[in-house]
Symmetry: C3
Subunit: 397 residues, 3 copies
């Protein structure tokens, strides 16, 4: 039995009929079966590509990307995913300004979507706005489809919002699954999602939130650690708690980085701005108060600087399970003495985990492709088998 | 008989041999048969796509876009059209500056066209220049082809110039044809192409010009209405008059918006700058007189502001045939109380026509694709039949 | 026997096994057989395209471009080459700033390459840095491939560095080969690679260097002429000397433009900045000394202006073999009275050679495609024959 057939069998055992023609906003909107399906399809697509078998399911069609914040990794991941499936990427370049909502969003969403099969949006800058914007776009094209304006309903893929970063966190999790040899081995593993010092400010909350919202579904013991005042959104903490209760894992919080690292199997030390600060900044942007923003930045940098001890050093790593926890980062990391004077992680730690880190990142294009595949293909299991049977070379010679 | 066969039969009855290897600059360069062919191919391509049948006629090749003015709608329409036919879009980003003419144009046109099958250009900012530039580019690549520099002759598609906006106006017209149930039902219908107030200034003349130049070919009664001083190009009015005489319709002018709206079947209220103002601005840009441009802008905005009563209100709409004229706009519209304080159209009117407006826009990708198809395919009728017979899925599963 | 079969036979006679999975940095890294193979494949791909036969060897996959200096010609050539082979271009837009090296380069290179089959880089601004950067990227993705991060090893194609401009110079040479009716007719032909005056400053050295490094391999008498102080890199001159000795040609230098032009069969008059000036500028950029850069620019422009007599005039051309040397330029040229007041070449000379110049440029997309083809296809001779046999139309109707 080929791997493709194995993945197809896995899919057939899952309840995933709601994924067809649906969107991907937040991992906690999805059932366990749906999450499992994304992993299965991601692995299946990767296996086919590794065997030089084309996974193009589209002969033509567009994938629209809209990056309302800088991006290199996710931009290339989205482009790779679209290309892998046969879609051509068109970028909607709106700039980073807070653009109009309501009618303008509805109209633009439809105007760019006449031949769009997927829309990928990154909008992580403003608390309370990114996810709302994505929902607005998805609702607009759904209406457009129902009203006969659009011939197909584009799927929305969240490429990072203010709440979640599902393509990142699911790539992280697939990496963990492969690292520990299967999802069945994750129960009881301890994960430390911790804040870390960075000389920059205002990094989005979507990664720590996405991690606690997703990792708690696998029976793991997830610890969220940060200095006082760097809280994430309460609603996501509630999701994490609920998940942990259901799966027999746990979700705890601490203001002590060492406590989080102690005996951890996985560590994810990463800087972020506090929810309260992000809210303040969002309001200042809304008011166009740029002096206020500058003042806030100075204040936050000063506050950050009081927590330079939140660094993933060799000493910290030595606290982890056998001193060998799997170190994760969404990249780019602020590496002490390399990309900055003092940062999130010691150079020697980062360097030791370089290859695993790159592998972690390598899952993202496949995760995105899987999200699109599951939204666009009515019978994904059979489609995978058909692709294998079709056996078209990706590279001909 | 499939729709494809019907469209193929329609095409076979038309004299369209001059379209092959030709360009699309202005609708009034084209015969009635050629205009009808664009509509037939646009509808045929759409029908095939709706039946999930691929219309890729290119296995590889580039579509070059050159937007010398901002664009979202037309940019995505061009990208969609190219993708639908199998061409990959490459954007030539020259910025909005008035670039050099003569040798530089000739050279650049050839340098980017070694593998280009189509070049789409928007150049609508400068009166007397946009169309001339497009002709220059088309002449350059024609020479390049004849001299053996290029292996194929790229087709030029006018994505808006200073004179006409054929992809927009033909999309508008195809929308009207579908709305009234066929081109045979248009005779005697009254169309009001009217100026409307906008808080911005300097909108191109190409839409009103394109509309009067095209709509008068269908035996309709076309009224052009604007405040005194907002005249469009005289040469296009002459085209409209001549068209009207030939087809038994009429072309009239008025400075009274109500007169235009009275008993109209179709209304197209939209802001534009006057021809004289655009000429002045073009000269100032040529002289690099930016203070002069600023002064002109202030003057024109002040002038505009004396015509705020030129708004498509409910009261205005009530004057139209049964109060139910088809409302058109090329989008985005300046909607009173929505996208601006006072604008071209009342929010309630716009909202009532939202879906038809989006449908109107949805024809543009197919109109562009049809223009390319007719320029690139020697026997378009048979090609459509072959595509249907080939029956390749656009989406495989 | 078709041309395809002839080219395949030529390839079979060449030792090119090292090209597979390799990069293309500098022409002098490559053996004579490898250079010959690029020309053969370029001609073969062009012949297939002219016969409307698809040369797509990829069903999906990305071609990454990274232009760290402005480019229109090379950008479109790279896009055309990728499209011709079935790859979609994704541009990595880093801006023109001198970006970080070391870890950052390694990481970014891997992050964008998960589905990349080729990476094309232009980095010609800074002496001592462009080539080094390209090697760094190539090394990074090689490591990524070996470490299992990347499923395929992207090929690096040098789209111009501080040392060489191989895609340009090989296009130039293929043009010469066709002009003189074959590589066997080049022995003893005189080539004048000369400096010429330009009102701009700081043009890269890569073209003159690439020309003397490549053209000396064909038994030609290559003369490098420039005013005192406009020397190119000594290491490249050494390459040219060594080449000339091996092939029975010659490489000489002069400060007299007329001496270079006298009896020349080929002339290539073109402006460049001196090696010393480029080194100085690189240092100033490194120091962020923008006042120093401005001062240097003024100094260099003043120095340039003392050499306005270095112009390719009709008088100069009359010195060449029968007054009819083949005039080359990488374009765009500074044409006296056309693109500038006083420049590299007289308008009448340029105009007489316009068509050959455009043809010269037309080889570049095929040269780039050939470089990719030879790096990606294990048995290029058989692959060409297979493509012919497959006989898929590039344009279907």
């Amino acid at each position: 039995m080929t791997k493709t057939k194995e993945y197809a069998e896995q899919l057939r055992a899952l309840g995933i009929e709601n994924m067809y023609e649906n969107n991907f906003f937040l991992t906690w909107d999805k059932t366990d079966d749906e999450i499992a399906a994304v992993f299965a399809v991601a692995d299946a697509l990767r296996d086919l590509r590794e065997r030089n078998i084309s996974t193009k399911i589209f002969d033509s069609g567009l994938g629209i990307s809209n990056f309302r914040d800088n991006s290199t990794r996710t931009r290339f991941s989205f482009a790779s995913a679209c290309n892998l499936l046969g879609l051509e990427v068109q970028d909607l370049d709106e700039g980073k300004s807070q653009i109009a909502h309501g009618e303008t969003v509805r109209e633009t969403a439809n105007m760019i979507s006449f031949m769009a099969d997927v829309i990928g949006i990154r909008d992580d800058m403003y608390i309370g706005k990114g996810h709302a914007y994505q929902e607005e776009v998805a609702e607009a094209v759904k209406e457009g489809y129902e009203d006969g304006v659009l011939e197909q309903k584009p799927t929305l893929v969240n490429l990072q919002c203010d709440i979640d970063h599902p393509t990142q966190c699911m790539a992280d999790m697939l990496h963990i699954i492969h690292h520990f040899g299967g999802v069945e081995n994750l129960k009881g593993k301890k994960v430390a999602m911790t804040w870390a010092y960075s000389p920059s400010y205002g990094k989005p909350l979507s990664v720590p939130q996405g991690v606690i919202g997703l990792f708690t579904r696998f029976g793991m013991d997830v610890v969220l650690a940060h200095p006082e005042g760097y809280d994430v959104m309460g609603e996501v903490e509630a999701v994490a708690k609920e998940n942990a209760e259901k799966t027999g894992g746990s979700f705890t919080k601490t203001n002590d980085m060492k406590e989080a690292f102690r005996d951890a199997d996985v560590v994810y030390p990463k800087s972020w701005a506090s929810f309260a600060a992000m809210e303040k900044r969002t309001k200042l942007y809304g008011d166009g108060d740029f002096a206020g923003i500058d003042a806030l930045e100075q204040e936050l940098l000063k506050e950050n600087a009081t927590h330079k001890d939140w660094e993933c050093t060799e000493e910290m790593m030595s606290l982890t399970k056998d001193g060998k926890a799997l170190y994760l980062h969404c990249l780019p990391a602020d590496i002490t003495g390399v990309s900055c004077k003092e940062g999130e992680v010691a150079a020697s730690v980062f360097d030791r985990y370089r290859i695993p880190l790159y592998k972690q990142a390598s899952f993202k294009p496949y995760i995105i492709a899987a999200m699109i595949f599951l939204a666009k293909v009515k019978d994904p299991a059979s489609a995978l088998e058909e692709l294998e049977k079709r056996g078209q070379d990706r590279k001909a010679f």
